[in-house]
């Protein structure tokens, strides 16, 4: 099992983003970037709480979300690990994110009076033009 140094998490009170969400974001970024390797052991809920000086509720909630996203697995009596089949899971997650962003853009298009055909045309144009 790979046990490389985990990048320390940094929580900010200034952003107004709840701590559990900051933990989810930073850990999932590290998992998806490969900074945390599949099979790598993560600190327990209680260890992470002491390390970050946050409540157990906070770390428990963060781990529950990461588990729901398929990025980590909790094995009874052994601990919490980065999921082995994480590539697939993170691909799924990435798809969900793109879906959400596109959905929002299309929704906005509709509000501004574009119909579906016009939106399709627009998307095709953007893809052809190579615009971001």
């Amino acid at each position: 099992m790979h046990t490389g140094p985990r990048e320390p998490l940094r929580l900010s009170e200034a952003t107004g983003v709840p701590f559990y969400r900051q933990i989810v974001q930073q850990l999932s970024d590290q998992i998806r970037s490969g900074g945390l390797q599949p099979g790598e052991r993560l600190p327990s809920v209680r260890e992470l709480a002491a390390e970050l000086v946050v409540s157990l509720i906070t770390t428990r909630r963060a781990y529950a979300e990461l588990e729901a996203e398929g990025l980590i697995v909790r094995r009874q009596g052994q601990g919490t690990f980065v999921r082995e089949a994480v590539e697939q899971a993170s691909r799924r997650q990435a798809r969900r994110e793109v879906e959400r962003s596109l959905g929002e853009a299309l929704q906005r298009g509709r509000h501004l009076g574009f119909d579906d055909d016009q939106l399709r045309e627009l998307v095709d144009e953007i893809l052809k033009g190579g615009e971001a």
């Binding site: 107004g16 709840p18 701590f19 327990s44 209680r46 260890e47 709480a49 002491a50 000086v53 946050v54 409540s55 157990l56 509720i57 906070t58 909630r61």
Partner: protein, 237 residues
């Protein structure tokens, strides 16, 4: 958090002069951090003093580890560390004091005392009666923790501490609950610290429980504990 319950209060009423504390129902599970918050005079200390059985109740029942702390104070206190503001004045050097107190507790952990002294430095050749307010707070904290009690009750533990020690205090509390069978109950009028570390909260106002429950459910997203607290305490509607 295990589901085991370490503390249960039912229909508790305590009267002291014209002050009355009422707690309809309060239960503390093992393995978590519980915050008791309220302005000064809200009844935090009155409530916490019931746990080691220091005061009688005028109604209802208090159970700690399933025991009545007034009937079985020794059994309760051997597993409950209680840190309070009123420090008895010892005319003893600190290192002697630690030796003296350690004799009462088979579970006294001298290594832990050394670790805590690194975090909360004290001069061991000083007389306990000559400590500053902040130093006295550190001493009381170490004494309450050193026998590794299953339940640690800290009444306003940040009193007189400098910023660094306050931060260390939060870390220390969370390190205690790394062991899932241990519980910390901590009171404060300064709610910011508790919002960060407490899993459950009990909010008191003029002797009444105005809120209790899981911190994230009470506070909610986009609202800080401070805002919520102002609302509960009636200072903002």
């Amino acid at each position: 958090m295990s589901d085991e319950e370490v503390i249960r209060l039912e229909n508790v009423e305590v009267r002291r002069g014209s002050f009355r504390l009422r707690v309809p129902s309060w239960s503390v599970p093992s393995g978590c951090v519980v915050g008791v918050i309220g302005a000064s005079g809200a009844g935090k200390t009155t409530l916490l003093r019931l746990l080691p059985g220091l005061d009688p109740v005028h109604g209802g029942s208090v159970r700690v580890f399933g025991l009545d702390p007034r009937r079985a104070p020794e059994d309760v206190r051997s597993a409950l560390g209680y840190m309070t503001d009123d420090l008895p004045v010892f005319s003893m050097q600190l290192d002697e004091l630690f030796r003296f107190v350690s004799g009462y507790y088979p579970s006294w952990d001298a290594t832990l005392v050394d670790e805590l002294l690194q975090r909360f430095p004290l001069e061991l050749d000083k007389q306990a009666s000559e400590l500053s307010k902040g130093e006295a707070t550190k001493l009381r904290l170490i004494l309450a923790m050193a026998f590794r009690p299953r339940v640690l009750v800290l009444d306003e533990p940040a009193t007189g501490l400098d910023l660094m020690s306050r931060r260390n205090l939060l870390t220390t509390v969370l390190e205690v609950v790394k062991e899932p069978e241990r519980t910390v109950i901590v009171s404060s009028h300064a709610i910011v610290d508790l919002e960060r570390i407490a899993d459950h909260l009990l909010v008191l106002r003029e002797g009444e429980v105005v809120q209790q429950g899981a911190t994230d459910e009470l506070v909610g997203e986009g609202r800080s504990l401070e805002e919520a607290f102002l609302e509960w305490s009636g200072e903002r509607t």
